[in-house]
Symmetry: D2
Subunit: 324 residues, 4 copies
């Protein structure tokens, strides 16, 4: 089927390529004409404006917005909403905040335009492995788009099937789900990323402990010089902690066991924060997910005010002067 | 080659079976004669005492102790030490504390007996998938036992190989490593389990947030009824959080999405605790691994004294009476 | 000077009494006529509706809303806004969310009505000890109300003065501050409560450790039967951890060292949650404040879904069946 | 009564001065003859060796060791044990690990020498305010030393008395307790310090959030420039978070609100670590106390390996390059 794509960065471009490769058609637009040209060469129809794109799409239209979450996505959805008509579908495939989805869906519903939010995991590997998708929206729209989703998803692949799922929705094991009404897709993707932060931090702390097993803080007879690259590799084989993130860790450590190319500064995107906000709203304890996010905040600070205040108190009650 | 096995529970028994299946021979002993008989039927030589087992092993001997960590392992290693002689090897394949390994190795070294500690991951799946092994001990002993380890390990299997490891120790990608001197094997296994706790808790918190997405604490328009079994399943396909623990989660949720068979009580074994002790000794921050362990402690309490004290303070300063 | 008071619960009623005792006058209103009558007897002027209260106040008016944060405060501020006129002041002395203050102040500013938010700490003890107040609003309005604040505040009392504050704002050491524009008062009060949760949890955990010093988990020679009531008391004298919360703890433990009257269920009000939301917005790590809030969430659950999921995974990879 | 004092640093010297001032006598020893001379001038009897000190003490002797915890305290206690005789008392007033007390007490008990451990809080303020003391040891020895403890303790002072303590041990409200057998004193002091870390970190995080209330991460209309020195001061008056640590915070911020003299590096002594080890041994959740310790560990690192590993994974799955 035909899909319009707005935003031809790494994600948007690869999604179009995967669709074209499976026989779908696409009308594409990006602020950068070279990005459009590259996909026209790959078989897509180019558009030089949002209006042009909408005009070139057959009704009922389906237009996928694949832009950075925030102002530009908001503005684009708003403009598209003005250009499209009843029964068309606008898809936001970025990492929008699910409460923005709720609002947009309500606004567009008044004009009978469908709004579908798609949380997508798979990053740079999606073109090859397929995209794991969590979808929110009304059933009619999500079902209509099924050929698109089925193509983008990884499919069964060689992942062993989970026993006992025979009577369950078969889409899940093909790599996409219809999670619920608008907002549900990004909500699930948000929690996915929250978990991702927690998993990453668990590995990071564990490897840090291994790395410091020869610390001078330890008594001499209790130190080990561990080869953490080999440890990451061996855990990939039959251990309880095997995972894709561990595969990536093993790859990184095979390249440089000291990880000297990295400054220690770790960015975070919004989903980890929103996950905590959701936990707080729901009264669900989330110590691990919080600690994982805070570790990233802390990584970006040097000499935090909090730490200085600790030293000030220590000086006050004990006359302690910090050694450094 | 020939191996003596003391302790024929699920782990010890399956290790012997995997060895016999590959053409090795085994002398086996267990307090329970039926456990011995079962393995004799499978091709092992039975022993009716430690002394008998030692007597039936060819020198230099290799005897693997596969018993619950703690007193019984300690006593067995001590008794074996008294029975064996220079150049023999005692292997502790359980989950002993690495500082016990350091002590035992030093004691046995005085009598020229080798002590090898093997941390093993893979649990009930090891017979089929192979055992992921982290090994500590002197090189001569570990190398002599290589045929045993090579058989027990999962091997390359169909796990994609990590690029850039050509010049690295090939044992790691076959599923076992020689981590360092005695104690290093159990140290690495200990941290493995610490990470395992952290990973598990990250999933647990995330799924708890998903489960509570329809909480009455939330405004009505912001609730979702999510199918968390489908979510676990879809994340197995191409998402960043895919892992073996997620596979197991998907299996459990496919069986019963409410998990009503579980009481909420969660046990912990020693490794999670020792990992934190090690982090503290090394001055390494470990908020995630700590929170994961504490969640298990908390799961086993009802109406904790800490919580009562909070209420007592709240009553003191604000006259607050708790609603329940 | 004259103050209107809406809401004559424990806080509102005591504030009026403290003002009347110092020679100020008050017009008071509450949905409950008996509450009004009680304060009329104490010297206040009663009103039987918001309109009546506004009518009885001399211009420029000052009306203090002392109601539970949320819908009722919002509705009352809105109605008052409609009744009052340019240069009047509306004070919200409850625990409103500071972003609600920002919005209300902007709305009222269009009609030249001042909006002042007052975060108040001191609870049931305020009538006697005075109220610690954190005030947000424009300077003209806050300065005009100074006689009220000066009376309500604890004053210098017998608290030792902080050296080096001679050139600083003298209001702080009398127990009130003008923290900034509208919203700043509740923002500071919010963080105050966030800290309060953290302090409480630090004591709770510490006393829990003392309480469990005779745990059967410990080796026999390492157990202590500690008198935690005496410990709380002794720490009040010259120790680094002395505080008002510790005073309250000592009082509670002097009454019942087991705290058997408390169920273990611990409520939380919004401020702890909002503090974390603010930390997350500001990218400030807040592990302690988060853990304190989550402990309260956890206190209200029995057999959490997160814990059940841990058990499900443990069963999956290790065949573990929880002991209970 | 007479006390021997070994170690005349700030703590030991001031303890002797406080005792002399109340009419007690002291025999004093320090490796540094000038420290001895200074106290001889204040009225003490000097000793030029441990042997000399022991010889100058009347039987049954009481000798207080006030040295840094660790090797030097251990060696001194051992040497004293060899010099003293049945019914003498050795007091360790430092911050020893309580398991060392258990061992030492057992060793000395064989020779009928009493061992008393005294945890002391009050630091540089003790000479003036008195020392808060937590004492472990057998009752006969602790009772014999009561005149010493009564003098050193702060006494009732002007701290309001806790209602309901009439039938309780009166020593607690005079500032010292007999916590239990040997080890109990240092155990209680250890948890005291664990709590201290938690309280400090709660304030540190809260003030950090206040400090960042004008962060550029926040939307423009939601920023506040807060005077955190005034906030610390106002909270000292009638608020729930008032404490001695807050007094010290207010003093530090009155001097320099930026705390620019502090590097951000925060040391920790052993007690915070031992408190966590105890919590882990007892299976008591201690998220706040752990987070407080880990924050100090983290303050001493720059570009942690854990953080680098997070970046390595992010690069692996998303091609993310950290902005800095």
């Amino acid at each position: 089927m035909q899909l319009g794509m707005i935003g031809l960065g790494r994600m948007g471009g690869n999604i179009v390529r995967r669709l074209l490769g499976a026989g779908h058609t696409a009308v594409v637009y990006d602020q950068n004409p070279q990005a459009v040209a590259a996909l026209v060469e790959a078989g897509a129809t180019g558009a030089d404006s949002l209006e042009d794109l909408v005009g070139k799409l057959a009704v009922p239209r389906a237009a996928w917005v694949m832009l950075p979450a925030g102002e530009i996505t908001e503005a684009t959805v708003q403009r598209l909403g003005g250009l499209m008509q009843a029964d068309d579908v606008i898809i936001d495939g970025g990492n929008s905040f699910y409460k923005d989805d709720l609002r947009r869906a309500a606004e567009l519903r008044e004009r009978q335009i469908h709004y579908v939010d798609v949380g997508t995991s798979g990053g740079v590997w999606g073109l090859e492995r397929g995209y794991c998708m969590m979808i929110g929206g009304d059933t009619a729209a999500v079902d209509r788009l099924d050929p698109i989703f089925a193509t983008l998803a990884p499919g069964l692949g060689d992942v062993p099937r989970t026993p006992g799922r025979d009577s369950r929705d078969p889409r899940a094991e093909r790599g996409y789900i219809h999670a619920g009404p608008s907002g549900a897709g990004h909500f699930v993707k948000m929690v996915h990323n929250g978990i991702e932060y927690g998993l990453m931090q668990a590995y990071a702390e564990g490897f840090d402990i291994l790395k410091h097993a020869n610390s001078k803080d330890l008594p001499e007879g209790q130190r080990f010089d561990l080869n953490i690259g080999d440890i990451a590799e061996v855990w990939r084989r039959g251990s309880v902690v095997s995972s894709w993130l561990l595969d990536l860790t093993a790859q990184a450590l095979a390249g440089d066991e000291q990880l000297d190319d990295f400054s220690g500064f770790v960015a975070d995107s919004g989903e980890g924060r929103w996950t905590l906000n959701a936990a707080i709203e729901e009264s669900v304890p989330a110590n691990v997910l919080s600690a994982a996010l805070y570790a990233r905040f802390r990584s970006r600070e040097h000499a935090s005010f909090a730490d200085k205040l600790l030293s000030a108190m220590r000086k006050g009650f004990g006359g302690h002067v910090e050694p450094q």
